[in-house]
């Protein structure tokens, strides 16, 4: 992915974000190396989702530096000066980052296959045949080879989320963001989605996952981050953090979710 392997996939330095008077992120410092899986946990309102949305510029940051694969998010630096990127450039950057949402956000007027084909065909201008071919492979990879023609409303939540994962992968992203991908699912459907994500991690995808699935964090995560009140409270190897949390707030949170 990066030519030297030393460039960080995501680097956040003192990232700040506020909505009006509400300070959501108050100095986030994080690094994700290529191929790593970072799992972010924390109570609701701690800024986890906002941080994810900042990474692909769905939200603008108000302070600090945030870069993906060595390039600033939403800006270009020339010497000392920082220039805002044009819309089209922002779009091109976003196309390299896949995102999976809590509420799937599949396009309801398209079949599962068309959902996966849409972006490669319209954004990257690839031929319909190439896109269809890859979409079929991706749907098979997430275990939905028999659901090509189904509309989202005819799929279960777990199936919809797996289509959403395939849709994001169709753009061949270098980074995948997961925003509580299993929180809207019935408990018995969570497993299939987690399995698809584990497979993805095994294939070497760089991933940032906001989740409440502690088991997933322990099994797949290279880094576990606990956020609260807009700051990173604690981070480290998942096993260490889970078994031996250092901060009171981490202990309090884990005692509730474990």
């Amino acid at each position: 992915m990066s030519p030297t392997g030393s460039t960080l996939m995501v680097q956040a330095e003192r990232v700040h974000k506020h909505f009006g008077l509400l300070k959501v992120l108050q100095g986030i410092n994080l690094e994700v190396a290529p191929g790593d899986v970072m799992v972010i946990i924390g109570p609701s309102g701690s800024g986890k989702s906002t941080f994810l949305r900042c990474i692909n510029h769905l939200e603008k940051i108000d302070g600090g530096r945030l870069s993906v694969d060595g390039e600033l998010v939403g800006y270009r630096q020339r010497g000392e000066k920082i220039y805002e990127l044009k819309d089209s450039e922002v779009c091109r950057k976003r196309a390299e980052i896949g995102m999976v949402f809590q509420r799937f956000n599949l396009f309801p007027h398209m079949t599962a296959l068309d959902n996966v084909i849409e972006a490669p065909q319209r954004v990257r201008g690839e031929s319909k045949e190439t896109c269809t071919q890859r979409a079929r492979e991706l749907l098979e990879r997430v275990g939905l080879s028999d659901k090509h023609a189904a509309y989202p409303s005819q799929l279960s939540g777990g199936q919809q989320q797996r289509v959403a994962i395939a849709r994001a992968l169709a753009m061949e992203p270098k980074l995948m963001l997961f925003d509580e991908p299993t929180s809207a699912l019935d408990p018995e459907l969570v497993g299939d989605v987690l399995d698809a994500m584990k497979q993805l991690a095994k294939d070497g995808m760089t991933m940032i996952v906001v989740t409440h699935e502690i088991g997933f964090a322990r099994e797949v995560g290279d880094q576990l981050v606990f956020m609260d009140g807009g700051v990173v409270v604690e981070r480290g190897e998942p096993r260490d953090v889970l078994a031996n949390p250092q901060h009171e707030r981490t202990k309090a949170f884990l005692s509730k979710v474990l």
């Binding site: 769905l58 976003r94 896949g98 949402f101 956000n105 972006a119 319209r122 989202p152 199936q159 994001a168």
Partner: protein, 337 residues
């Protein structure tokens, strides 16, 4: 995942409930009264005869209706009415989409221009607007194309350019755009914000997101009121009679000005408006079905499909229950939780 069928094949079937049904005398009385009134109305409209001059005629003059319903003056009027409706609605829809997108723009000038346009065209009667367009030559005797405040490249005589027909569809269309824009805006706002976010996260531009993701979904909300507007436009186009466009109403007016058969000729016009409205209603049904695809509710069969199925079933021996339907997975039938 296996699915359990509800147990329909149980061996035990309880005896059917036999009870004396509740009587509803009120319903019978209401039905009888309404039927009587309807019969009186039909009689008065269709059959009752009165003496006019030396002849006995139906009250509404149906023989005149029959004589003129398919006459070429009337048919020409119908064609002009349809042309006016179609062109004005096209202007209205295209203009409406543009205005709606302008009102949702981030540029304050663009937003306020659109707001001002809607404010003006919704705030004045369309009849007044039509008269304005008809009298455009009073304000601008010549229309010219050129550089703003600079030299003219091309100029035309307004009275020749703006015929009554052109004044009519411009007036009706621009007025319609103001109403359509609010309908389109409502449709756009009805689409979940997550849709635009998902599209953007895939790298789609705002324009592409609007065209491929938001507008197709907004159509489900936009179509029913647009059908309404089209039917409304069909009838509003009769206002063009005031500026001497020979559409349906003015055509029959021209006839009754010569024959004095006012009521029968108004009936002729009304019948044609009813016929076209009925056709439009059927068309709307099919357009709605097209844009409703993928919605959580299964599409009902069209009347035509239902008819074909009825024929098929009457030939087959299997009960209707056995027709295959796609199995719904658990938790299906819902979008976005």
């Amino acid at each position: 995942m296996t699915q359990l069928e509800p147990d329909r094949t149980g061996t035990y079937e309880p005896a059917q409930v036999r009870a004396v049904p509740v009587r509803h005398p009120g319903r019978w009385v209401a039905a009888a009264v309404l039927l009587l009134l309807a019969a009186m109305a039909v009689h008065a409209v269709a059959f009752a005869r009165i003496k006019r001059g030396n002849a006995m005629q139906t009250r509404f003059g149906w023989h005149v209706v029959g004589q003129f319903l398919l006459s070429h003056q009337v048919l020409d009027g119908v064609v002009v009415t349809l042309e006016l409706t179609v062109i004005a609605m096209l202007i209205g829809i295209v203009g409406g989409v543009m205005l709606a997108v302008m009102r949702l723009s981030a540029n304050p000038i663009v937003k306020w221009i659109a707001w001002g346009y809607i404010w003006f065209f919704r705030g004045t009667p369309v009849l007044v607007q039509l008269l304005f367009w008809f009298n455009l030559s009073y304000v601008f005797p010549r229309l010219a194309l050129g550089i703003p405040f600079g030299p003219e490249l091309l100029h035309l005589d307004t009275n020749r350019l703006i015929t009554p027909f052109i004044a009519a569809f411009i007036g009706l269309g621009l007025n319609e755009a103001a109403y359509m824009s609010e309908i389109v805006r409502a449709g756009i706002l009805s689409v979940d914000e997550g849709q635009a976010e998902a599209a953007q996260s895939l790298g789609m531009t705002r324009l592409l997101t609007m065209r491929r993701i938001v507008l197709p979904q907004a159509m489900r909300v936009i179509i029913p009121p647009t059908g309404n507007e089209t039917i409304s436009m069909l009838k509003t186009s009769s206002l063009a009679s005031v500026i001497t466009v020979t559409e349906l109403l003015y055509s029959v007016q021209l006839i009754y000005a010569a024959t004095y058969q006012i009521v029968p000729m108004l009936l002729v016009a009304s019948l044609w408006y009813l016929i076209v409205t009925s056709v439009l209603t059927v068309g709307q049904y099919y357009v709605e079905r097209y844009f409703g695809r993928g919605s959580s509710r299964a599409l009902p069969l069209t009347p035509f499909q239902r008819f074909r199925r009825l024929i098929r079933l009457s030939h087959a021996t299997v009960p209707a229950f056995g027709t295959p339907s796609p199995p719904m997975p658990p938790g299906g039938g819902r979008v976005n939780g």
